[in-house]
């Protein structure tokens, strides 16, 4: 049998990085092509990035992502999908056919569904998140619309991949899917990227973010409600009572202004640094410098940022929710605290910062777990099994 030919549909791919889908699709595609698949990524364009290139064996095609003004984000998504399905259709024909279309989240839902039907090829979907989870319910017409688009996408999919057991059961509940349609394949993390950082240059780098006597408490994520960064801000006074620390907050989002004013009103401006969006090289170094990495999410389908911190050998404190509950074993590979509870979060952070034997053992165990369980080669092999199973079932269907 020839190598399965996979077309990934994703709205983000490096250098376009908005959330976790971009690195996920990059590492998955790269490991898949190393493990015997032919992978074509169709994604949105990005200033300076070529419209076609080969990245680590993966053929990347960047489409015109619709640049006229759009009434709102959801409309832009659907408009962008028109271009995506058109360009993807041309590409599929040039290549002489695609075996599987693999869509990532509702952002490419309509393109994925359309391509499935016009080519009559199986569609596989990875649900990285859900609207009902992100918003903690459905409150507006837009949220209902996105939810129903997600439901439609999972309905049309041959298999739905989720990155954690938590997400699998959440998606099953949210869209009423049958059990045999769902597959759990964990997310991965690339440890090499962290291992190659030279420790000796780090103290100079660290000084840009904190005083030498300050411990660095690092938050990395979009500044949005579900990431719980406001819980961390509320925990700060309880932490700095006991230990001298600097809180470095990386990322942007709609809560940024609100957070800035809360920090100001609490008189904590000298203890909190809003670093904005960092490029990968700086982020990796900062994660290596962090004395503790905090993931205080209220909703977290997977929690890739916790894995990254573990790969960087930074001890982690996470809220005991969603995918984070599965990644971290309490007292062994990290600390779990009650979600949405600043007291509990402050307790966890303080404990790690004050007990260096404890934090060292967390670092060592977490790094070992990440290398064994969340390694991309292993994930690629599991994903290949899903492709092969779907292709085998498809070949017996009347579409074949």
């Amino acid at each position: 049998m020839r190598a399965p030919r996979i077309m990934m549909l994703t709205w983000e791919f490096p250098p376009r990085v908005i959330g976790g889908i971009s690195p996920h699709v990059y590492f998955l595609s790269k490991s898949l092509s190393k493990n015997g698949a032919e992978v074509y990524v169709v994604t949105c364009d990005f200033p300076g990035a070529p419209s076609h290139e080969i990245v680590d064996g993966v053929k990347v095609y960047r489409i015109d992502s619709y640049k006229n003004p759009s009434p709102d984000f959801a409309s832009w998504v659907y408009l962008m999908n028109i271009n995506m399905q058109k360009e993807a259709a041309h590409l599929a024909n040039e290549l002489g056919g695609i075996d599987v279309f693999h869509a990532h989240d509702w952002l490419v839902a309509t393109a994925g569904i359309g391509l499935k039907h016009v080519f009559r090829k199986p569609l596989i979907v990875t649900m990285h998140s859900t609207e009902i989870g992100r918003r903690d319910g459905l409150h507006t017409a837009t949220e209902h619309m996105i939810h129903e688009t997600e439901a439609w996408l999972t309905y049309e999919a041959w298999k739905v991949i989720c990155c954690s057991n938590y997400m699998t059961s959440h998606v099953r509940w949210a869209f009423g899917l049958p059990n045999d349609k769902l597959v759990m394949v964990p997310n991965g993390v690339n440890t090499e990227m962290y291992d190659k950082i030279n420790q000796s240059g780090l103290s100079e780098f660290r000084r840009k973010y904190a005083l030498p006597e300050e411990k660095i408490v690092l938050f990395v994520g979009r500044l949005v409600y579900e990431k719980g960064v406001h819980v961390l801000v509320n925990a700060i006074p309880r932490i700095i009572d006991k230990v001298n620390a600097k809180f470095v907050i990386v990322g942007n989002g709609y809560m940024k202004d609100q957070l800035l004013s809360i920090v100001k009103s609490m008189g904590l401006e000298h203890k909190v640094l809003f670093a904005g969006f960092l490029d990968e090289a700086d982020l990796v170094k900062l994660q290596k410098c962090a004395d503790v990495s905090v993931v205080p999410s209220l909703f977290e389908p997977f929690g890739i940022v916790a894995l990254e911190a573990m790969a960087a050998q930074s001890p982690v404190v996470v809220s005991d929710t969603g995918g984070l509950s599965e990644i971290v074993d309490h007292d062994l590979t990290g600390v779990k605290v009650y979600p949405n509870n600043p007291d509990s979060l402050a307790w966890g952070i303080t404990r790690v910062l004050l007990d260096s034997n404890y934090s060292t053992s967390l670092r060592i165990n977490a790094y070992k777990k990440v290398r064994e369980k969340y390694n991309w080669d292993r994930i690629a092999v599991e994903t290949m099994k899903v492709y092969e199973e779907v292709i085998a079932q498809y070949s017996k269907s009347f579409w074949a």
Partner: protein, 204 residues
């Protein structure tokens, strides 16, 4: 010749005058031994039907909640693609032409052209610039960009008056040699339509 007609209104669903026009068109084409499938929208009367030689496929929107007609149209297009692809594969891939009326199902026609190599004619009943005169909100711009895409990707554009031909050329820079004026009032209306279809299919 096998033709697919895309229209967002078709009897019994009548919104403007396009429904009656498309019905008359499909009837006349059938009489001239053209195999026609009308692919259209209906809220609940979905599925395949046949009435006096005209086959219809009606689809509804799987996404029930919308913020406006734009998102409603953009998500309905994949159902149109599904319905069209079903006809295409049942007919052993022998669909010669798609005739798409107004902007709503242009995205589907564009995808089918790219994927299945079926050319399409964009038949203009009205344009956004005239429907929402002087309105240039992002909502109108989005519809205009879809109309532009239709003009750009279409093998031919048909309009119903000389005035509309000028407007299509003025608003979208559509090349005039690509625009055919076919007046529904003309006695040679259906002959002109057939002639235009043949121009695109090359006599198939």
């Amino acid at each position: 010749m096998h033709v697919l007609i895309f229209s967002w209104e078709y009897p019994p669903r009548i919104v403007g005058k396009l429904a009656t026009y498309v019905h008359e068109l499909a009837t006349q084409l059938s009489r001239h031994k053209i195999s026609v499938h009308v692919i259209t929208y209906h809220e609940f009367m979905t599925g395949v039907n046949e009435d006096s030689g005209i086959k219809t496929v009606r689809v509804t929107n799987p996404v029930r909640t919308h913020t406006g007609v734009l998102t409603w149209v953009l998500t309905l297009n994949q159902e149109v693609e599904r319905a069209a692809a079903n006809v295409y594969y049942e007919k052993n891939r022998k669909i010669d032409l798609i005739d798409v009326h107004d902007w709503h199902f242009i995205p589907a026609a564009v995808t089918l052209k790219a994927a299945l190599n079926v050319p399409f004619i964009y038949s203009v009943e009205s344009l956004e610039d005239h429907r929402s005169h002087f309105a240039n909100q992002p909502f109108n711009m989005a519809i205009k960009s879809i109309e532009w895409l239709g003009m750009y990707e279409a093998a031919l554009i048909t309009v119903k008056s000389d005035w509309m031909k000028e407007e299509a050329a003025r608003l979208y820079n559509a090349p005039k040699q690509k625009i055919a004026v076919i007046s529904p009032e003309s006695p040679s209306w259906i002959a002109n339509i057939l002639n235009t279809y043949t121009r695109v299919t090359g006599g198939a």
